[in-house]
Amino acid sequence: MTEQELIDKLKEEIIKQLNLEDQKPEDIDPDAPLFGEGLGLDSIDALEIMVLLEKNYGIKIEDPKEGKKIFFSVRTLAQFILENQKPA
């Protein structure tokens, strides 16, 4: 999967997992911050994205502090997955 394909897939998954019903995938800028002013996600969303990573990609983040960098934007998240995903 290319980075772009993964970004598109992640957008769909994030909207579904976090119940962002008022958002469309094309509205999410892959480089905009997910938390704070960007998509306005909060600490529960961060925990939920960790569940998503484990469930859909088999990647476990043990230290929540680690999440900050990885969860900065959809692109950083996609890059992290590509670097850490074990071959299926």
Binding site: D42, S43, I44, L47, V51, P64
Partner: protein, 390 residues
């Protein structure tokens, strides 16, 4: 009319009976242990659980026919023990039962428990009714389920009802059991400490869950106590952070509001508070928030402890159990140290008890904070003769 704390009982990891729990706390013992129980969680965890021997003994006495759940069994036992220290008639319409719990019989949702009981046993109103009816009580029971402040809120509600003359006696029972539901939930929140918790400490990293039950009996009639009460409930109140449903307020505003309500209601001023029994879950944000609220409320001077490292966070039971221990601290003239605490780790100046300290306290503040941004505060006062000290 004073509202006396006339009798109590605690069952938790540190034993069956308030005296036994108190003595083990005085000795600095912790009931928080490492557990590897596949029925409660998929991996090992640290928690404070009622000892199997204690539970089996109680269940054999009370629940030989397996007609009650674990939750109901510990509640019935605790209420019976506390009532035994009074002369009140639990069946009288002058007596009201108040149940405080977050999840009650939640373990009945597990596959292995399905079909053992009627589905309505999951309902918390059913639990309240089952308990009050067991003691022949005909008043409509009150069930409070307000997250981690349920216990303190139940004591406040009992006080308000007695003060207004609706009842003469209130049996306040707070309980929650350990369940996979709750343990996995807190784990998913990354809130659990990987070891005994360290309230207000610089290296605190999370909480320990606990199971337990506490029963506190309040009465306007001190004659109803087998040992006359020495401590009265003086007033309380609650407040909301209006900030976030799971993260504590960064400013402590909701807890500050609750403290103000408790102060106004009791007529006690911050300078008069000689001891604070804080919530102190040992999560980084909670303890920080509490330090801010206490400091803003002018309570930085008052010696303060958290009891969470002794018997964990007992959720719906916490406010009741910790109020009972606070009452005993006043009676025994001894303030317990904050077990698990060693290095100062909150932003505002508060007075954390780091050793057991003799003290004659006239007024105590008990607080709690919980999910949903809720906070509650309660003032306890030494009774002077038959008159409250305020």
């Amino acid at each position: 009319m004073p509202v006396y704390a006339i009798a109590d009982h605690i069952l938790c990891s540190l034993g069956d009976g308030t005296t036994s729990v108190w003595n083990r706390m005085l000795a600095g013992e912790s009931g928080v242990k490492y557990h590897n129980r596949n029925d409660l969680f998929s991996g090992p965890f640290w928690a404070s659980l009622i000892e199997t021997d204690n539970y089996s003994r109680i269940a054999d006495q009370l629940n030989a026919g397996n007609e009650f759940t674990r939750f109901e069994t510990i509640c019935l036992h605790s209420i019976k023990e506390a009532l035994g220290r009074t002369t009140i008639d639990p069946a009288s319409p002058d007596t009201v039962f108040i149940l405080s719990t977050t999840k009650g019989n939640i373990d009945l949702l597990e596959k292995k428990n399905q079909g053992r009981f009627n589905e309505d046993r999951l309902m918390l109103w059913k639990s309240g009714r089952l308990l009050s009816q067991h003691f022949g009580n005909t008043s409509h029971p009150i069930v409070i389920s307000n997250a981690c402040i349920s216990g303190v809120l139940s004591v406040i509600t009992a006080f308000d009802l007695l003060k207004a003359g609706h009842f003469r006696h209130a049996v306040v029972c707070g309980a929650d059991i350990a369940s996979e539901f709750v343990i996995s939930g807190f784990q998913s929140f990354k809130s659990l400490a990987n070891g005994p918790c360290k309230p207000f400490d610089a290296s605190r990293e999370g909480l320990n869950l606990g199971e337990g039950v506490g029963t506190l009996i309040l009465s306007v009639d001190n004659e109803a106590a087998k040992d006359p009460a020495q401590v009265c409930v003086a007033g309380g109140g609650s407040g909301n952070d209006a900030n976030h449903i799971s993260g504590p307020s960064r400013t402590g505003e909701g807890l500050y509001v609750a403290i103000q309500h408790a102060m106004n209601c009791s007529g006690v001023s911050p300078e008069e508070i000689g001891f604070i029994s804080a919530h102190g879950t040992a999560t980084p944000y909670n303890d920080e928030m509490e330090s801010k609220a206490f400091s803003t409320a002018g309570l930085g001077h008052a010696p303060l402890n958290s009891m969470k490292a002794y018997f964990g966070h007992t959720l719906g039971a916490a406010g009741v159990i910790e109020t009972i221990i606070a009452i005993h601290s006043m009676k025994e003239k001894t303030l317990l140290r904050t077990l698990g605490y060693s290095e100062y780790g909150v932003p505002e100046i508060i007075t954390i008890l780091d050793r057991n300290t003799p003290a004659e306290v006239r007024h105590t503040l008990k607080t709690a904070s919980g999910f949903g941004g809720c906070n509650a505060a309660l003032v306890l006062s030494m009774c002077s003769g038959n008159h409250p000290s305020n």
